[in-house]
């Protein structure tokens, strides 16, 4: 029985918090201790670059769970403390307040941190922010509200950069995005969608420059690129990707490969140690390969699986990834992983309502939906059932999406 056991969770992230509550649901009777260096009650991160920033919302309105829920489920939430080392032989963690905590089960929900590229002057420059947590947004807001010209330069045209640009634009900023690749979203989507978002931002008055390799930020906050161009900024947002927080995992020599390696039961390479969420490098059976995902879906679904396995109910992770992004009047919903596609079908129902369907041969891999929840939902069902789709019917925007299945293999 688990009543005298202790489960320690490193990181009160979406994954960590969901895991803690799922443990109780699955019948874990022992202690649950959640550690996080953030002093805020655990909150939703996806809104930070979107509505939270734009509407000047408060963390209190974006809590994952109210404070009473932790008390009610007897989850010991220890905020404002960091784990500095782990002793995996004695099964204990040491904290920066000099205390030591024993564990029987240990869970890494350590997530990731914003990557700050080695640009000359970036550390000394004023008003440089990444966007990963509530304090980042607090800093951006303060700088924004005291800025007279409200000139913002966003380094990096990925989802975080684009969402932040859209939110700040709505607040009245003068926004310029500098992207190193030849198109925005180059690492994460196809040229078709990159072009769409590029147009969307330009129509909304945001300047986008591609092939811009930032080399320096000067004393007076001018951003310099290697082609000789320069951009003045009051506020600089850095959105060039993340680095998985693997320092503690590396310290105890857990297997690390593009994240903390876990098997289908979310167990790491060492006994009684698990990992969940953005920090994991895990197997996806649908796509038959290992992936690392930055998503709420993965955080929530892995948390459920991990809780079951910790409680002795053997369960394997098997979920379809999904994502979303909100920018201006556009809702992008993605289901599946498009990597490795060899064919795509665009189904355009209106200027701002369409979907892109990615195939490998006959297999549907993923769907990107723009203001088109129906294609997102049906895409999810078709991927799940491995349905064979009539691509010609699919491309016809007047066809009924429910009647595009040629053969349902399930």
């Amino acid at each position: 029985m688990s009543h005298d056991k202790t489960c320690v969770v490193i990181g009160a992230s979406h994954a960590g918090v969901n895991l803690a509550f799922a443990l109780r649901k699955e019948g874990w009777q022992g202690k649950i201790i959640l550690f996080d260096k953030d002093t805020n009650l655990p909150y939703h991160r996806p809104p930070l670059s979107k509505k939270y920033l734009e509407l000047e919302d408060s963390i209190q309105n974006n809590l994952l769970k109210p404070e009473e829920s932790y008390t009610k489920d007897n989850i010991n939430l220890k905020l404002g403390v960091s784990i500095i080392s782990i002793n995996n032989e004695e099964q204990s963690v040491s904290l920066d307040d000099d205390s030591v905590q024993h564990y029987d089960k240990l869970v890494f929900a350590t997530g990731a941190s914003a990557f700050i590229p080695p640009i000359k002057g970036i550390k000394e420059a004023k008003n440089v922010f990444s966007l990963r947590n509530a304090d980042d947004v607090e800093g951006i807001r303060k700088a924004f509200n005291t800025s007279t010209t409200k000139k913002v330069v966003v380094i990096g045209g990925g989802y975080i950069g684009l969402e932040t640009a859209a939110s700040l634009k709505k607040l009245g900023a003068d926004v310029t995005i500098l992207e190193r690749e030849e198109r925005i979203l180059a690492r994460v989507t196809t040229a078709y969608l990159s072009d769409f978002f590029s147009e969307l931002h330009k129509t909304n008055g945001v300047s986008i420059f591609t092939n811009k390799n930032v080399t320096e930020i000067t004393d007076n906050n001018t951003v310099l690129c290697d082609d000789g161009s320069s951009y003045d900024a009051n506020i600089i947002i850095v959105g060039v990707g993340i680095r998985v927080n693997t320092e503690l995992a590396a310290q105890i020599e857990l297997k690390i490969e593009n994240g903390i390696y876990v098997n289908t039961k979310t167990e790491t390479s060492q006994k009684d140690i698990y990992a969940v969420g953005d920090c994991t490098y895990h197997y996806n059976s649908l796509y038959d390969r290992f992936v690392r995902l930055e998503s709420i879906q993965n955080a929530v679904d892995q948390a459920k699986i991990t809780a079951k396995n910790i409680c002795g109910i053997e369960t394997e992770y098997n979920a379809i990834p999904w994502f979303w992004s909100d920018q201006y009047d556009i809702k992008l919903q993605i289901v599946g992983l498009a990597d490795g596609f060899d064919d795509l079908v665009v189904r355009k129902e209106a200027e701002k309502k369409f979907s892109i369907w990615y195939f490998k041969g006959k297999q549907l891999l993923a769907v990107d939906s723009i203001n088109n929840a129906k294609s997102y939902v049906l895409g999810t069902k078709y991927i799940k059932t491995n349905a064979e789709i009539d691509k010609i019917e699919l491309a016809n925007p007047k066809s009924d999406l429910k009647s595009i299945v040629a053969i349902n293999q399930n």
Partner: protein
């Protein structure tokens, strides 16, 4: 101010007083079982599915088209289904009864 009643799958009846925000937030903030709100309330995850009592359908209003589409992710959705992150709290909701989907 509105008093909203939630009926959970455990047959628990919870009456909550709401003033602002949406119904999902009210439910999550009070630990109503079965309302997860994983996406934070932007109609992206379909984890705040409720069935509106027949008598209250007009008070609560109909689902938007995106909501109707997202509800198709739930196998048990019907004409009384709503994603409650999309229901804004107002005085007009006073007395409404919502059954939380399983």
């Amino acid at each position: 101010m509105a008093n909203i009643t939630f009926l959970t799958s455990d047959n628990e009846k919870i009456v909550l007083e709401g003033n602002s925000g949406n119904v999902m937030q009210l439910a999550v903030n009070n630990g109503v079982k079965g309302i997860d709100g994983d996406c934070g309330g932007v109609c992206s995850c379909a984890t705040c599915h409720v069935f509106v009592a027949k008598k209250d359908i007009e008070k609560v209003g109909k689902a938007s088209s995106i909501e109707v589409d997202m509800l198709e992710l739930a196998d048990d959705a019907n004409e009384f289904s709503r994603l409650c992150c999309q229901i804004e709290i107002s005085d007009a909701l006073d007395g409404v009864e919502l059954t939380v989907a399983k």
